[in-house]
Every structure is written in structure tokens, then in C-alpha cells.
Symmetry: C2
Subunit: 304 residues, 2 copies
């Protein structure tokens, strides 16, 4: 007799009455999570004091957000992204000692099965875009170069689309590749200078951004998923600090430490040495620092 214990539902008792009803939850974690959700939701309602119409608008917004989802589109992840929730979950799950490379969101465009490539390969398969040479070193917190690190990289093309968004237009696995470090910890590969692009903005989340006076763009970046047995998985981006949207990423993914200079070089000899046509290319250097896993015995790399 739940309400008997805590009284009937009123503005004052609302959290206790609902939480008390969930006391027989099948596990303690669910019970604890629901207690927080109930409390914060009721706090929000009490502070907002929504009208019936506003409450119904919220119901219909959530409904539309669910209904536009399909196998290729996840509008609730987008909503989580633009409210900063995805980044916050990532930040909480990726607390690292200073000196370690910071995480950022995975994003929806990672694809398993990208080809293993020899160090130095060009991940751009269609020769479109401005050439970019990317290089650096992967070390542990003590500065020791790490061998056998798996570096999974991916990026959008110079029009702002990933291969999976342009099937039939871009070659399969365009701008994707997997590299592995030798004992010097060094990595290098060829790619193209990325550009900003919008998140899908033709649905309820795009409409919300519009009502909030916000644009849907992400600043130019490329992605890394870096794994080594015994070390924490590193999911991150490198950002172009000169991008027009660097201070207003629609999904809040930018961190100060994840910017690298995209140096424009005009040097025929160096360009030729990299195997680029012409004399102009961009040079991006970024070093990564991995952290030993706390539970080494239990850790396996994401993919072999």
C-alpha cells in the first residue's frame, strides 16, 4: 500500500510517491536511476510550471523525434548531442590523468571493417579535395613510444559527407583506414583537408535548433579510434582551429587540447616526396598519449 506510507500524490509529495512505487524494481541500479530521473524530472516541471499546451508540445516533440528514426537515422542521439548530453556522458566515462589525450564523441559515422593499410597510405580513394599529410607519435604517459597501436581513422570528404552518406557517389571505405605502429610509435598517412558540415537538420531536432537560433554545423575535424591491449580505448577527433564553427560545434565536441594546426605548405619537393600532385598541401602533426587500463586483465581491444 504505497501511497499509505508516503501519503497521496501532491506537489509536495510527488517525488516520494513515485519513487516509493518503484521500490520493487528488478535491480538496484534501475531503481537508483529511476529515483534520479523522477526527482530531476519533477524538479524541472516544478520550476517550469508548464501549461497544458506546453506539456502537449513536449509530448508531440518527443513523439516526432522517435518516429523519424529508422535504420539509418537516430534522431534521439542527435537530440542528446545538441543538448550536450552525449558529450557529458563521454566526459564522465573518459576521465583521464593530465597529459593523456582527451576523448570526444564517437559520432554516428564510424564503420567496422575499414581496410588495414601500410603506414603512409592515402585514405582518399577518389582524388578529391586538398591533400593533407597527417603524422605524429603515440606514447604512454611516461613518453615511451607504443608499438602495435591500432589507429582507425575516418573523415568526411571536402563536401562534408562521409562515404556511407554518399553510397554510389564515393568509393566504399573512402577516407577510412586502419594503421598499426611499429616500435617507434610513429604514424603517418595521407588524407584531405576536412571541412565543416551540418548534422541532419530536416527533422524535429533541426527545427529545435532553428527555434533556438542555432546553426547545425560541426567544425572541420577527422576521427580517431585508437586501441592497444592493456590501454584505455581512445575515441577522439582532431579539429581545425581556423574553422568558422570551431567555437560553436552543434554537438559540443571541441576541446582545446584536440586542436592541431593545419599548416598550409607550398613546397614542390616535399609534396612530391609525399606523392602529392602539385606543390600545395596541408601538414597536420598530432601526438597521442594513451593511459594504461586500470583493469588490464579484463581489457580487450575493441577489434583485432
Amino acid at each position: 500500500m504505497d501511497e499509505h506510507e508516503s501519503g497521496y500524490f501532491t506537489e509536495e509529495t510527488s517525488v516520494d510517491v513515485v519513487t516509493n512505487r518503484n521500490k520493487n524494481a528488478e535491480n538496484q541500479r534501475l531503481r537508483a536511476v529511476m529515483e534520479v530521473i523522477t526527482r530531476k524530472l519533477h524538479e524541472a516541471v516544478k520550476e517550469i510550471e508548464p501549461t497544458d499546451r506546453e506539456w502537449m508540445e513536449a509530448i508531440l516533440f518527443l513523439t516526432k523525434t522517435g518516429q523519424i528514426c529508422d535504420d539509418y537515422r537516430q534522431e534521439f542521439i542527435l537530440l542528446s548531442d545538441v543538448l550536450g548530453v552525449s558529450m557529458l556522458v563521454d566526459a564522465i566515462q573518459s576521465r583521464r590523468p593530465s597529459g593523456a589525450t582527451e576523448n570526444t564523441v564517437l559520432g554516428p559515422f564510424h564503420v567496422g571493417g575499414a581496410p588495414d593499410m601500410a603506414m603512409g597510405s592515402n585514405i582518399c580513394l577518389d582524388q578529391k579535395g586538398e591533400p593533407m599529410f597527417v603524422h605524429g607519435c603515440i606514447r604512454d604517459l611516461d613518453g615511451k613510444p607504443l608499438e602495435g597501436v591500432r589507429i582507425d581513422v575516418w573523415q568526411a570528404n571536402d563536401e562534408g559527407f562521409y562515404d556511407v552518406q554518399q553510397r554510389g557517389v564515393q568509393p566504399e571505405f573512402n577516407l577510412r583506414g586502419v594503421f598499426k605502429t611499429q616500435s617507434d610509435g610513429r604514424y603517418w598517412f595521407k588524407a584531405i583537408k576536412p571541412r565543416y558540415y551540418p548534422i541532419p537538420d530536416d527533422g524535429p531536432v533541426g527545427q529545435l535548433l532553428g527555434h533556438l537560433g542555432r546553426h547545425p554545423y560541426r567544425p572541420a575535424h577527422f576521427h580517431y579510434l585508437i586501441t592497444l591491449d592493456g590501454y584505455d580505448k581512445l575515441t577522439t577527433h582532431i579539429f581545425d582551429p581556423d574553422d568558422r564553427y570551431i567555437h560553436s560545434d552543434a554537438v559540443f565536441g571541441v576541446k582545446q587540447s584536440l586542436m592541431a594546426e593545419f599548416k598550409r605548405k607550398e613546397d614542390a619537393e616535399q609534396a612530391a616526396a609525399h606523392g602529392f600532385d602539385g606543390s600545395v598541401f596541408y601538414d597536420v602533426e598530432y601526438d597521442f598519449v594513451l593511459v594504461k587500463s586500470k583493469t588490464t586483465a579484463l581489457t580487450r581491444p575493441a577489434q583485432k
Copy 2:
């Protein structure tokens, strides 16, 4: 340059960074609402510290909740109901002086266009269920009987289904009717004793209730929507205090003041006077007290 002002997104700055991004919202109310939603959502995430998997479970739960909605089913309202949000919004919107009849949720089964009926009519059109005589008086806070009050009543049948849930099985507008008071403020009509029934529990919300160890039942009740020009609209239920679920309404709609005794009477003469077959019927007496609208000039009854 939003992030420049408040720094980049971190666990510490997350609320300010997101809220600052919404500063150009098209209206102040939306901006204020989003500030609260962002703050409470981030507080919840920081307290829960969800794993990636838990976050994805939440995303998929919300997605499924949207996708099961159609013209006849609104699973997000159901979610709002079982989390106590619908009742909380109703409580906030229906604060009344003591002595006034309390509101409760409208529920999804109100239908416009129910027939006007002569006082004393039987709203049960198919003769199923145990007969019930309902009566009382509608007054203002000073005890003055109110004339011309529109009383819109509806209820589920003795199997727990509303007519709109059993089209073709129950007659149209079964167990619905609209009555109007005379100068004595009295009302009386015939109906059937209601019984408890489950909210739709074959979707994501029903699954959640299962995981929370909760049943999906609402205790026996019937509904009133009571309107009079110049007075606050009263949306409420009358509950049977002897119902097995009276202390655990799945949607938290029960209030102490909304219970009425369902008196079982075995009296052939009285039953005959009411026009009931047999000698057994239930007698329910409940008086309502309406409150003058604060903004009388702007108030119109919901329906004429």
C-alpha cells in the same frame, strides 16, 4: 563565439556552455524552459554517471516509445503518466483554495460530442454491469447552488473498457452523457459500477512497469468534466475507496478528497423508483465545489 565566453565544454562547464548557446532563442519562454531542461538533464547525468550501454538503452527506449505511437495510441503520454509528470502538471495548473473540489488528470478517453441527456437518464446503453445511481449538488465556495453547470461524465464498462476501445462491441457513446443543473444545483443520473482496468501495457511503458515491479492498473473510477461560464473548469474523477488498486493507481490520479462511498443497497422499492431491474444497486453521492475564475472576462467554457 559562444565557447570563448564560457570556455569549452567540460563536466564543470557543461550547463553554462549549452545554455549560452541557446541565448538567441526566438522567445524568452523557450529560452527559459531550455535552461531548466538542460540544467536538470545534466544534473541527472552527473548523478547517474551512465555507461555507454545505459545511455544507448535510454536512447532506444525513447525511440521505441515514439515509434509505437499512432492516431489511437500515445505512449509518451503514458510515460508521462507513470512517472507522475501528468499529475504534477495538472496539480500545478489546478491550485485551488481549500474547500474547492480537486482536479485530477483528464485521461485519454474523453470524447467530444457526447449526447445531452435529461437529468436522471441512464448513460449505460447496453444494460451490462451492476446498476449505480449517482447524485449530488454543485455549489460555489459560499455554498450557493450553481445553475446551468455543464456536467460531462464518462466511464469504462464493467469489463474495464471505454466505448472507443470497443467500437462495434459497445454502442457508440455508451457510458457517456452531458447533464445541466437547474437552480437547485442538483444532478443525478444512472450508470454502472466501474471496475479497475490496466493502462495499455504491451509497449515500452508496460515493459518499464514490469522491470519496476509495478502493475498497470487504475482503480475503479468515473470521470467528470464540469464547466460553467465564469468558473474554473473542473476535470476530475470519483474513485471507489474499496478498489484493490486504490493505493497504487498506475498513473497517480487518486486524491483522498476524490473518493466517494459506493453504497451497496438492497431495496426493491428504491431500485424500482430509479427504474432499475432487480433490487440491488449502488448509490454514490458526491458534491462538487467550483471556484470563480480569476480572469472572468477572458474565460469561456470548454464547450457550449
